[in-house]
């Protein structure tokens, strides 16, 4: 007699499960990470304590998480926006970098601009550069159907090399002695901080962008038409919608958001163009958008939680845990979250009956 397992789609998992399953996934990821920490000769409890202290457990940690959340909200939004029309923008990394690069160019060379205009000009340059970078992928996708995943990815490498060329070459800081960063930007190019904290205003900008995107996509006819085009191409064609035009516009918008992330990270945090201005923000944005199930406001929450994880793993490193271990723990938590997400979508039936092989319930695997 064999045990057979049926999987059945669960359409609306109860709210309790939607909270409990991801929580259990994070715990499972931390336990698995704890094993790796212990193998590496660290005390997992101590390590996680410092992780908590460094992220949600202290005022400094929360502020650091908010700073880290800013680029992640934006790259997450960039991905979620593109997903509305069914495109995967894996190029947030490159769009962010090219955005930061363009903003640096304005900051370094547009010296005749009056002080109050410097920041807006840099941010605008960042958005435009990000949009342009994404459009390079959008046009072949819209016109000839070339896979946008691969093109956006390639553009990441090209953007990084272009930035490297500039910061090692024409824009190099003469005092950097071969380190990879540009000259410092003028003071007028720094984003102000929120009074009473050391968090720059970028997070406010990011939330405003999130709400704007949500409004645009959920509350305007154009946003609805984008969803139709992304959901069912044939319906969209019958309705006379220009799918390819919308693809280009949406991907350009997506790139602009990622470019904005670059300009903000530059003006809010680094103050100069440098290698590592993006710490996988673009790729993290894909995971964030997915964990938020593509919901634009959900991205804000998912990005903040993701940021606490990243900031926590920095705190972990200050206790002597090697950076790769922190990366592994992050990745493990994501793997468990994804597995939990999948588990939520299905209900498992186990039957122990010889007549389980009914053709009507063909979900039989033994």
């Amino acid at each position: 007699m064999s045990v057979s397992i049926h999987l059945e789609r669960r359409l609306n998992p109860p709210l309790a499960m939607r909270i409990a399953v991801p929580a259990a996934a994070v715990v499972a990821g931390l336990v698995a990470g704890g094993v790796i920490l212990a193998l590496g000769g660290h005390d997992p409890i101590d390590a996680y304590n410092s992780m908590w202290e460094g992220s949600l457990g202290s005022s400094d940690g929360i502020q650091a998480s908010l700073i880290k959340a800013c680029p992640l909200v934006l790259t997450g939004l960039a991905v979620a926006t593109a997903l509305r029309i069914g495109l995967w923008n894996i190029g947030g990394e490159g769009q962010l970098i090219i955005g930061a690069t363009a903003a640096t160019g304005v900051g370094l060379y547009a010296t005749s601009l009056p002080g109050p205009l410097v920041l807006p000009a840099m941010i605008l340059a960042g958005c435009l550069a990000g949009a342009t970078w994404a459009t390079i992928a959008a046009i072949p996708r819209a016109l000839i159907g070339l896979n946008e995943i691969i093109v956006t990815l390639f553009l990441n490498y090209i953007a990084i090399l272009l930035m490297d060329h500039l910061i090692f070459g024409p824009w190099a800081d003469p005092k950097a002695f071969g380190f990879a960063y540009s000259r410092a930007l003028p003071d007028a190019a720094m984003l102000p901080v929120i009074p009473g904290s050391y968090v720059h205003v970028g997070i406010v900008i990011a939330v405003v962008v999130a709400v704007t995107c949500w409004w645009l996509m959920e509350r305007t006819p154009w946003g609805f038409s984008v969803r139709v085009a992304g959901g069912n191409a044939r319906t969209a064609e019958y309705l006379g919608l220009h799918i390819s035009r919308r693809m280009v516009i949406v991907l350009a918008l997506s790139g602009a958001i990622a470019g904005l992330a670059g300009a903000i990270e530059l003006t809010g945090v680094t103050n100069r163009l440098q290698d590592g201005i993006s710490v996988n923000y673009g790729y993290s944005g894909v995971l964030i958008a997915f964990l938020a199930r593509g919901r634009l406001l959900g991205v804000v929450v998912a990005a903040f939680l993701f940021a606490t994880l990243v900031v926590g793993s920095y705190a972990l490193q200050t206790t002597g845990v090697a950076q790769p271990i922190a990366t592994i723990i992050e990745a493990l938590i994501i793997v468990f979250l994804l597995a939990g997400d999948a588990a939520l979508a299905f209900r498992v039936h186990m039957t122990r009956a010889p007549h389980a092989l009914e053709p009507a319930t063909a979900g039989v695997r033994s």
């Binding site: 999987l7 159907g145 990815l153 090209i158 790729y283 995971l287 992050e330 990745a331 979900g363």
Partner: protein, 308 residues
């Protein structure tokens, strides 16, 4: 003249690991599963292959270990995407991050060490004595010689065997294939795991055979290029191999130009392979669109028997 000869020879060596990784990805994609974790699997292969070689002083064991390691990471992808139906793109990206972290962790004590064992070039008698082509084509290691046979073998497997028919069916129309008795799940699992083994080998080719050293993140994005090569090669193993060799040549040209001291920034030169591939992709794809060949119809979609 020697400049070009060197470039071709280096190109063959650089193209070989790309061909392995791309052929592995091709097998998985033919079964309908996109594996964006190739980069992570190559890194895991590179580090495990290197460690095994250092420990055993035997490069053959090292390469075998690398294949197993790549397949092991790929089996996670298979369980998650085929079994649990997790989104293939998101899962692949996660595995690339995991592979990068895991390989850096495992390889921490191995940077700067020499592998001990090695895979030697085997000059082919007589042929390697030929003028010009002898040294370019017939003085390589066994992995270089094997790759055309592997590409042809995969072509035969896909188009001339029952298994290949099943593989294509699983990738094109999993529902119909399942209904006619093709073990869709089994085939998808197998294809992803075998593909990962290829990626592991490709990674170890860099660490054990080519540079004979381990460095964090040493594959430098070549896993992504492998994925692009599958698209470039329209899911045909022979064309994919040709693409890998062309790409290897452009990549090698970059090193050659740097070594002769061209007055162009090394960063701009390093951009060349990416720009080149992008341009070629756009050209091939424009041409292809009229013929509608290539991409498996079920690519990227999890197969849900319940939703049939």
């Amino acid at each position: 003249m020697t400049f070009w000869l060197n470039s071709v020879s280096v190109g063959i060596v650089l193209g070989t690991p790309l061909a392995y990784a791309a052929l592995g990805e091709l097998i998985a994609e033919r079964a309908g599963v996109m594996n964006l974790g190739v980069e992570g699997m190559m890194l895991i292969g590179a580090v495990v292959g290197f460690i095994v070689t250092v420990r055993t002083q035997n490069a053959v064991l090292g390469m075998a270990g690398a294949g197993v390691a790549g397949a092991a990471l790929a089996s996670v992808h298979a369980v998650m995407t085929v079994g649990l139906r997790v989104n293939q793109i998101v899962m692949g990206l996660t595995l690339t991050i995991l592979g990068a972290g895991l390989s850096a962790y495992l390889g921490a004590g191995y940077a700067g060490r020499r592998p001990g064992g090695e895979i030697n070039a085997i000059p082919i008698p007589v042929l390697s004595q030929l003028p010009v082509v002898g040294s370019i084509l017939f003085n390589h290691d066994v992995f270089v010689y094997a790759v055309p046979f592997i590409a042809i073998g995969i072509w035969l497997l896909i188009y001339r065997t029952r298994f290949g028919l099943w593989l294509r069916a699983a990738g094109e129309q999993p529902g119909a294939a399942d209904a006619s008795g093709v073990p869709v799940f089994l085939i998808r699992y197998l294809a992803v795991i075998v593909g990962g083994g290829f990626a592991g080998l490709a990674g170890a080719y860099f660490s054990v055979v080519y540079t004979r050293a381990w460095a964090e993140g040493m594959t430098g994005g070549r896993g992504w290029i492998a994925i692009a090569l599958v698209i470039f090669g329209t899911w045909n193993p022979i064309v994919v191999l040709v693409g890998a060799l062309i790409f290897g040549f452009v990549d090698g040209l970059n090193f050659q130009l740097q070594s002769v001291g061209v007055p162009v920034s090394s960063h701009l030169l390093a951009m060349m392979p990416y720009v080149f591939t992008l341009v070629v992709l756009i050209i091939t794809w424009t041409r292809l669109r009229r013929r509608r060949v290539g991409m498996p119809e079920g690519l990227g979609l999890p197969y849900e028997r319940e939703a049939r």
